[in-house]
């Protein structure tokens, strides 16, 4: 790997800074408290599909393992259960084993913001207002052009995950939520299924047949109610199949991921144990599980909704960039 300087991106970078300023202004005007959080932690939330960066603190003959946080969530939820109220954090997050691509780097800027006493549907409206605020600040109007396509922030295109699978992949809700039927359907479509889980194959079909269609109708798309299997930290819906999670897209690019937060400590504990076991099984870097997080939930996490947004990706949309590197003055490649 090497350090690459791209000072010629200065103009785009300055525009990106204005986007960040607008986001912070929007959040502060709406009374979200800014949080300044650590990026090194001795324990993490176990997430079966994420690899992490491990380092250590040394002093004389003592050594303590520390881990770069893949998300600030573990800190924020603690503070929420202490009653801190609406808040946000914008800072670096780290994901190992994810090579540079035009839309992602292993070190990236993540915005997480939380609203108490509200759910994911409320958050969707809040996000639309923020997108609109950025558009008006940068262009003086509620419409932008991304790679030659017009995107208006007047409204969402709203769709459930089940509706999207029906529309774009001809997979019924019955097939979608039944792992056995889903895998069979995928096999008939020509996907390789041997040795892979329902979640693996689901992810592949989703990327292959659904995602490219999202956010291409002239409006951003909010896709909601994911299968419970994909929503380890979100509140389940009463149908028993889906959870209160949404993602939003512009021109096929996933920009953010929102939950109604799971406040049920025993259920969260069960999901932690399962995810930790799956991490071990798949040979991921071991880390202490943050059981303090469960204790915070036991103490009482208020009903709340939180969203994580890839800030550079959002920057790409509003600067009409095709590659994350176009926003940067320094890249590690």
């Amino acid at each position: 790997m090497k350090i690459v300087t791209t000072a010629e991106n200065l103009k785009t970078y300055q525009k990106y800074l204005r986007i960040i300023e607008t986001i912070e202004k929007f959040l502060q005007e709406n009374n979200y408290l800014k949080l300044d959080l650590p990026v090194l932690s001795p324990a993490l939330i176990p997430e079966s599909y994420l690899e992490i960066f491990k380092t250590e603190f040394r002093y004389l003959d003592t050594k303590d393992n520390l881990f770069l946080t893949p998300s600030p969530e573990l800190f924020i939820k603690r503070l929420l259960s202490e009653g801190i109220g609406d808040c946000y954090s914008m800072g670096k997050s780290f994901r190992n084993s994810e090579p540079n691509s035009p839309k992602h780097q292993p070190e990236f800027t993540m915005l997480e913001w939380y609203k108490v006493e509200k759910d994911y549907k409320y958050m969707a409206q809040e996000v639309l207002k923020m997108l609109s605020a950025i558009s008006r600040e940068l262009f003086g109007k509620n419409t932008i052009a991304y790679q030659g396509k017009s995107v208006s922030f007047d409204k969402w295109e709203e769709m459930t995950v089940a509706e999207s699978f029906k529309k774009y992949a001809d997979i019924s809700a019955e097939e979608l939520f039944d792992p056995e039927k889903f895998v069979l359907k995928a096999k008939n479509k020509g996907y390789v299924i041997d040795g892979f889980t329902y979640m693996d194959i689901w992810s592949q079909v989703y990327a292959q047949e659904i995602e490219n269609n999202l956010g291409t109708s002239g409006y951003p798309t909010v896709l909601f109610d994911y299968p419970v299997q994909f929503s380890a930290l979100s509140k389940p819906n009463s149908d028993g199949k889906t959870a209160q999670r949404f993602e939003f897209y512009i021109e096929g690019i996933e920009l953010g991921n929102c939950f109604s937060e799971l406040t049920d400590a025993p259920l969260q504990k069960k999901r932690f144990t399962e995810d930790d076991r799956e991490r071990s099984r798949s040979g991921k870097i071991e880390h202490p599980v943050d059981w303090g997080f469960i204790e915070s939930l036991e103490k009482g996490l208020p009903e709340s909704t939180g969203i994580a947004i890839g800030v550079e990706r959002l920057g790409m949309i509003f600067t009409n960039a095709k590659n994350i590197e176009d926003l940067k003055l320094i890249s590690i490649k």
Partner: protein, 186 residues
Amino acid sequence: MAIQAGNLKRGEFIMHLDDIWQVQKTEFYSPGKGSALMRSKLKNVSSGKTVDYNYKSNESIETVDVTSIEMQYLYKDVENAFFMDNQSYQQYELLLSVIGSVIEYFKEGESMYVYVHDEKALNIRPPVSVTLKVIQTEDAARGDTVSGAKKEAELETGVKIMVPLFIKKGEMIVVNPELGEYTGRA
């Protein structure tokens, strides 16, 4: 040979849906729900058709063994380009839609490498650069010194590309045929 999709590289030939495809582009993608993926653009070597396909990054993919043979580029018609093995004199043909626009940078009679599998040509192996003569370009207007300014030039194969203002008719220039970009004076 089988490889993991996460290790796929541009230019490789692979089996996909019982057919041979050449990898045009790859991009790692971790959607954070289920398996990480390798987004790939594949070109079918029999039809020139391209598809986007997302592999699970740890899915096994069968690669196709190819030999690269030096051949003479004979000529092209509206659909195909024809080549001859310099050693065996055996002739091969390739669809223009498989080769792509890179063919426009080659002169008939030139030598180049062609990938062959099972007696069938799959694609050419384009060189990093080719040297071609500028046969037509306007002289730059005096005083036009904007840095990085470009003008159109027609090269001896008939292809037109953008070149710096100081390039004159009759000069030999170096071009990257895959990008169709001027890289320097010869």
